[in-house]
């Protein structure tokens, strides 16, 4: 796995950071995110207790949000050619094995350039600390 280079490639909305804070409090430790692809819940980030998912040489660390690492498969990253990912939360339970982002909420990644200015306030950007 490689270290992030240059400006942060992962940023988060206040709602996502609040969800992470609550997960940390409930689980007693940080979580990790892995961007998914493919079928069904593909394209959403999967959230696990940190260390649950085995990171390999194929994975890139995009950055950390409040101490929680965010990874993407190098091949997906190349195919998507997206400079920056915005971690947010959206309505609905998560699918597959991902932890929820709170009651009836799941994590999503958005392209910051696609975030509509009239979207709910949770889309206000916050850089990671």
């Amino acid at each position: 796995m490689s270290e992030p280079i240059g400006p942060a490639r992962i940023i988060a909305t206040p709602a996502a950071r609040e969800a992470i804070r609550l997960l940390r409090a409930a689980g007693g430790g940080p979580v990790m995110f892995v961007q998914s692809g493919g079928c069904c819940a593909g394209s959403t980030p999967m959230c696990f207790p940190v260390g649950e998912f085995l990171i390999g040489d194929i994975d890139i660390l995009l950055g950390e949000i409040d101490g929680c690492p965010f990874y993407i498969d190098k091949r997906l990253d190349q195919a998507w050619h997206q400079d920056q990912f915005l971690l947010d939360v959206a309505l609905g339970e998560p699918e597959d094995f991902s932890l929820p982002a709170g009651e009836s909420l799941h994590f999503v990644t958005r392209s910051p350039s696609c975030v509509s200015p009239d979207a709910p306030g949770e889309n206000a950007l916050t850089p990671p600390e």
Binding site: G42, L76, S98
Partner: protein, 507 residues
């Protein structure tokens, strides 16, 4: 014809206020007594409640499966086939009821569940009943007095995790071969679609030996790992996205058990110029073949979501296809005239909308659709409907590279066979593909050249039990369907037997 929604007066589908797990032939309340609401995507309203299970419930299901596995594994293939055929008969007898339940919970139009999902389930159980009986073990005369006998033995108890897009058919794909090979199953349906498989269990519980199939519902984060990482399963199979697929393989590696993962695709559907050589039934079939991207509202791992059209027919062929797409009827999934129903969940429609935005930002041209659909009927005002959409662009765009899992087609052109093949293979995935041409040689060469597990040739979206299905590249590992599945759900036992009395003479 319009079916009445499940649970309403006059519906052919009865609905209990809540459903428990099906374990050991009984309906067992979840250990912690928690339930979650199951929604109908057409109305966003509740259907019922299902168990919100915890790892304790997975253990109970594994207890029941282990208690059943010896008797089931030792049953003759004749006896097992009888049960599989009885399952098929029970499903067939309740075909309309299951079709309506499946449509209402998933959103897929009932014309599809009546014509495809449920009849295919029936056929899968009958196919594997027949396959198990017809299968012969093999023996080899290694030397005159030394014989190698090979027997298939069941793995034992398998863990199976199914997706939301074909809740019943994917259950049949996984259960039929597992049971035929003598295994017992603990199966977890997807979080958005836990109910129709419980209706299936109501339908077949009287013909099923206790503990052979055990269904546990609940969130994947809570019970997915409890099942997939459990040292008491002998194989795990999963259909879903790539990260959970890797996690499943990671757990399987830690337990040293086999796994099968089917993880989606971005399937090319290639139309050569000779499809327009005549204006005939075949051209009509090819046009329908392109529009099949909207089958099951695009929520199909093999959705033909990239159309590659030879440049010299693009304008005329696409015009015919767009006219067909414009005539698609969206609405009540329980109306047999409806062709496209709602997406399965709020999550999915949000994802689709965000991908169309990404496509627009990348410069893709929206040829049709491109927004949420409003359909007739006040009760469907909150349903998750999205217009069948076509985006024209370039294969390097993200909407050509990532699975949108909705009725969104990315279309581009190619010049010649080599160009078509290069674009088709320029993807991380390799699950399905389609080739449309009147030239048999070209069809064969393209089919062999495309790096995908299934190349539909002059057809698409057919899923017979006797054709192997599975992915190349990151679309997954392993296959489903076809009698080779008996292998995938068995151990091989070799007895190496000497009929000679002579010592080796070494000691």
């Amino acid at each position: 014809m319009k079916y009445v929604p499940p649970g309403l007066p006059g519906s052919i589908v009865s609905v209990e206020p809540r459903y428990e797990n099906f374990i050991g032939g009984k309906w067992l309340a979840p250990t912690h007594g928690k339930y979650r609401v199951d929604l109908a995507p057409a109305t966003a309203g509740p259907i019922t409640e299902v168990a919100d299970s915890t790892p304790e419930d997975v253990e109970l299901a594994l207890d029941a499966a282990h208690a059943a596995k010896d008797a089931w594994g030792e049953a003759s293939t004749t006896e097992r086939a009888k049960v599989l055929n009885a399952i098929a008969d029970a499903i067939e007898k309740n075909q309309d009821m299951l079709a309506v339940a499946e449509s209402w919970e998933n959103g897929k139009p009932v014309r599809e569940t009546l014509a495809a999902d449920i009849p295919l389930m029936v056929d899968h159980f009958r196919y594997f009943a027949a396959a198990a009986r017809a299968e012969e073990n093999r023996s080899t005369e290694i030397e005159k007095d030394l014989v190698a006998y090979h027997f298939r033995e069941p793995l034992g108890v398998v863990g199976q995790i199914i997706p939301f897009n074909f809740p019943l058919l994917m259950a049949a794909w996984k259960l039929a071969p597992a049971l035929a090979a003598g295994n017992c199953s603990v199966i977890k349906p997807a979080s958005p679609t836990p109910w129709s498989i419980l209706k299936l269990m109501e339908t077949i519980e009287d013909v099923l030996p206790h503990g052979v199939i055990n269904v546990v519902t609940g969130p994947g984060a809570e019970i997915g790992k409890a099942l997939a990482a459990n040292p008491r399963i002998a194989k795990v199979s999963f259909t879903g996205e790539t990260v959970t697929g890797r996690l499943i393989m990671q757990y399987a590696a830690q337990n040293l058990i086999p796994s099968t993962v089917e993880l989606g695709g971005k399937s090319p559907n290639i139309f050569f110029n000779d499809v327009m050589a005549h204006d005939d039934e075949f051209l009509d079939k090819a046009i329908e073949g392109l529009v099949l991207y909207a089958f099951n509202k695009g929520e199909v791992c093999t959705c033909p979501s990239r159309a590659l059209i030879q440049a010299d027919i693009y304008d005329e062929f696409m015009a015919r296809c767009l006219a067909r797409i414009a005539s698609i009827r969206q609405g009540n999934p329980l109306d047999t005239d409806t062709q496209v129903g709602p997406q399965v969940s709020a999550q999915q429609i949000e994802k689709i909308a965000s991908y169309v935005d990404i496509g627009r930002n990348e410069g893709a041209e929206v040829l049709i659709g491109g927004q949420r659909a409003r359909v007739d009927g006040a009760e469907f005002a909150d349903g998750y409907y999205y217009q069948p959409t076509v985006l024209k662009g370039d294969n390097k765009m993200r909407v050509f590279q990532e699975e949108i899992f909705g009725p969104v087609l990315a279309v581009t052109t190619f010049t010649d066979d080599a160009d078509a093949l290069a674009i088709a293979n320029d993807t991380l995935y390799g699950l399905g593909a389609g080739v449309w041409t009147r030239d048999g040689t070209r069809a064969y060469k393209m089919g062999r050249g495309i790096k995908a597990g299934r190349v539909w040739t002059n057809c698409y979206h057919q899923y017979p039990a006797g054709a192997a299905f599975g992915g190349y590249k990151i679309s997954g590992i392993g296959r489903e369907n076809h009698l080779m599945m008996l292998d995938h759900y068995s151990q091989t036992k070799n007895l190496l037997v000497s009929y000679s009395t002579k010592p080796l003479g070494l000691f």
